[in-house]
């Protein structure tokens, strides 16, 4: 609004010129006050509409993309437009199932092969245009290689654990009847096995424990507790605004900054003992930790695989290059890789580990393949991952088809033989 138009003297005179203004009578004063309030209300509404429209056009205030969920901890907003500018640039609508995918029908069209991919933000890939992430490229390459339409569905969600992936499969993915489920691993998965008390929504997770009989026990105590916290209640109360208001998105960001500032200022003024936090100080500790708690992961993967098999889907592990966020170097966590391999052999699940191939291709530095601030994949690395995964999956799918055909014909001949044996 024109600042020079805001000549206070002119304006005060002008307000005096309003009917009833300037007179001493209480009724007139009241009318004057009402006029001022009404004008302010009109300006407020106009400002809100203008800012919402402006931010929508400018793609600003779109960055929040998850909401609290009692069962899964948190999940993406369905249908919300997301603009991510922190690393790279991505702007897209999540589909009506809250997936980083174009809109997709639940019913599988005839002749279509469906692959569901689960993992964290490295699968979700908010940092690059949707057309450039490895999920989309993989679908194109597999369709070409297999000579049939292949749909690759992206069920990746930032900071999800394997337990949350399993729950997402049960609550969302299962209805799409995928022919194959890929569980993607990177480097942080063991760190998400145990419950964690937190005020940050991105870390609110249910967990699966293993009871004395070796059965998985679902535990969402941390989620329920989060819902009772001030932050949790604020999240729930402002859910509509977080989903639909760009102004709220901007103010929410500022609020977070203010909170961080306040916390650091308070810490500076009154240094306290740091609150306990979950960190693994060295690679050796990480390795020991992984060995200690892998049995939970093993059980979860086993249950996940059993569920998929029961639903008629193949189960595959994919280990994408392991860049640890913020460190920009390849993390050589051989323990986790070995444990995963062991579980895969036990469950008879194929594993594609891209770590070594990546080292050969890019060396030990991440120049141009990862965004420096968080290690997420750039378009170049997405393309490379797709190029490496597509041949493996194509041959696996073809092989599985051949095996299935062979076993079907064997079954037929067995039936025929037994028929012959019949009197």
């Amino acid at each position: 609004m024109p600042a020079s138009a805001l000549d206070t003297q002119t304006l005060s005179k002008q307000s005096d010129g309003q009917p009833g203004a300037g007179a001493g009578a209480p009724a007139k004063r009241q009318a004057n006050l009402l006029f001022v309030l009404a004008q302010a209300a009109i300006y407020l509404v106009a400002a809100l509409i203008f800012l919402e429209a402006f931010f929508y056009i400018a793609r600003v205030g779109d960055s929040e993309h998850i909401m609290p969920d009692l069962q899964v901890g948190f999940k993406p907003f369905a249908g919300k437009r997301i603009t991510q500018r922190g690393e790279g640039f991505g702007c897209f609508h999540l589909n009506s199932f809250g997936m980083q995918n174009d809109e997709i029908s639940v019913a599988k069209p005839p002749g279509v092969y469906r692959i569901a991919v689960f993992g964290d933000s490295y699968v979700e890939a908010l940092q690059v245009p949707r057309s450039a992430n490895y999920i989309t490229i993989l679908a194109e390459q597999l369709s070409k290689k297999l000579g049939r339409k292949v749909q690759v569905l992206n069920f990746g969600v930032s900071n999800y654990s394997v337990a949350q992936d399993f729950l997402r499969y049960q609550t969302v993915a299962r209805q799409f009847k995928p022919d194959m489920v890929i569980q993607v691993f990177r480097v942080e998965e063991v760190g998400k096995l145990l419950p964690m008390e937190t005020r940050a929504l991105l870390f609110v997770r249910p967990v699966f424990m293993v009871d004395e009989h070796g059965k998985l026990v679902y535990d969402n105590f941390c989620v329920r507790e989060y819902f009772q916290t001030k932050e949790g209640r604020r999240m729930l109360a402002t859910q509509w605004l977080r989903q639909y208001s760009r102004i709220w998105g901007v103010i929410g960001g500022l609020w977070q900054q203010a909170l961080t500032f306040q916390t650091s200022a308070c810490n500076n003024l009154t240094p306290k003992k740091a609150a306990p936090s979950f960190t693994l100080p060295s690679d050796q500790t990480r390795s020991n930790y992984a060995k200690c708690y892998w049995y939970i992961m093993d059980k979860q993967l086993s249950a996940f695989k059993d569920q998929c098999t029961a639903d008629g889907a193949k189960f595959v592990f994919l280990r994408t290059p392991m860049i640890r966020p913020g460190m920009h170097v390849l993390t050589d966590n051989e323990t986790e890789t070995g444990l995963l391999q062991k579980t895969a052999s036990k469950l008879n699940v194929p594993v594609l580990n891209l770590d070594q191939a990546y080292r050969k291709w890019a060396g030990t530095k991440d120049d141009g393949t990862n965004f420096s601030s968080g290690g997420h994949f750039t378009a170049r690395l997405h393309s490379w991952v797709a190029d490496n995964v597509a041949p493996f999956l194509a041959s696996y799918i073809s092989q599985a088809k051949t095996d299935a055909a062979n076993s079907a014909s064997e079954d037929k001949s067995t039936v025929k033989k037994s028929d012959n044996k019949l009197p």
Partner: protein
Amino acid sequence: MLFSSLSYLLFLPVACLAFWLLPHRFRSTLLLLGSYYFYMSWIPVYGILLFCLTLVNYFIGRQIYKYCQAETGNGNKSKTAKTFLIAGIVLNLATLSYFKYTDFAISSWNAAVSMLSPMLANYLSFHPGALSFPLQHVLLPLGISFFVFEFIHYITDVYKGSKPIGNFVNFSLFAAFFPSQIAGPIKRYQDFIKQLQVPRVFVPARFEQGVVLLLQGLFKKVALADNLSPIVSQGFANASALGGGEAWLSAIAFAIQIYCDFSGYTDMGRGSALLMGFDLPDNFNWPYMAASLTDFWKRWHISLSSWLRDYLYIPLGGSKCSNSRRHFNLFATMVLGGLWHGASWHFVVWGAFHGLGLIVNHSYDGLLKKTQNGLSGALLSFHRSTAGSVLSMLVTFAFVLVGWVFFRADTLGGAVSVLHAMFSPMQTSSFLAESLQKYPIFAALGAYAVYRMLFDRGQALAALMPAAMRPLLPARVIIYLSVFVMALGLAPATASPFIYFAF
């Protein structure tokens, strides 16, 4: 503490409130304490440097005044006063040089030695590394270039006959006043002290004007300059591989960035001062609308240009001398002005480039005025026409743009690469495509253009509005809040420091 930071957003209202609540006699002390807190929130120890320089200059100013009062019989200034003046100037420049130019001098020396190494091969084989010196990595105190110039202005003016500041608190505040402390405008003490002596009266309209300036500056900084910063950085970082289009884009983006960054800072500084009833000089007057290079320097960083004119160009002889001497004075002033901006050869080249441009500009003007033939008449009338004005503006902008390439590039080689790309239109590249999409720069530019349009035609637009819709105070507060939210909404996640903080 950055003007665009959350800390400042908290600091300013507290300082303002305390200022207006306190009686006049305590306000200078309060502002001084606040200014030192502001300055020392960065590196506390540099507050001591500022204090020591203030103390020494205060003393020198008083001595100069004392000895000037006791003039010699023939009306000449006392030699002691002159000695104090020279000592003061040397001390200020030496401090500035130590902090700003030590590493520049060492690296230039080392480069010269390595260039001459074939000639010195014999000596160096016996004394390897004897002629090279390690860099000192001296951290530049924020705002030193600005307050040192203010001190030089003070002691020089006192020597010329102005009355010195009698109160140490007021003098310290002149040097440390937080709205202008880090990146100017370079104040004149006579104007500032006058304002300190007269009790400030709270005038709502002036306070509101301060808020508007603050918001305008914030928008320029965080929504425009900070969004352009990564595009410029990316362009100049890939100087050798830039295509023609992207080279021009990088240069134009920098021209807008540096204007928005610096004028945004000035607006915020002036706005902050106005909240407490102080007027600071304006530093910019639509510089890219300048119709000549001379005109540009009357519109760009006005407080520095006038300082260079008064304390460098005129003492060197100014324009009251032969043509060649005048040209030398111009050139030397601009080269030193370039060096003031930064301790690097590309700043020197930038200054020299502008110096040469000004010489050509002055010569052309002089030629037009002197020659009375038909051609000069036609040229003069062409310059006065609309087409002529537009063409002059474009040519001036193009010249300034080329100058900005020298200014922004990290090295001279980098500048040459960008300029080569700018004049090789067939070369193509796509470094900036993603950044242009990533940063909401077009939305910010559009919003600012609309804001300027409304601002400049504000009175006329307000007159067109129905009386009931002309905004009263609550409505205006809503408008200001909207601009604030808009500016912060458009701001990128990581803020860039003000460019002129580095000088």
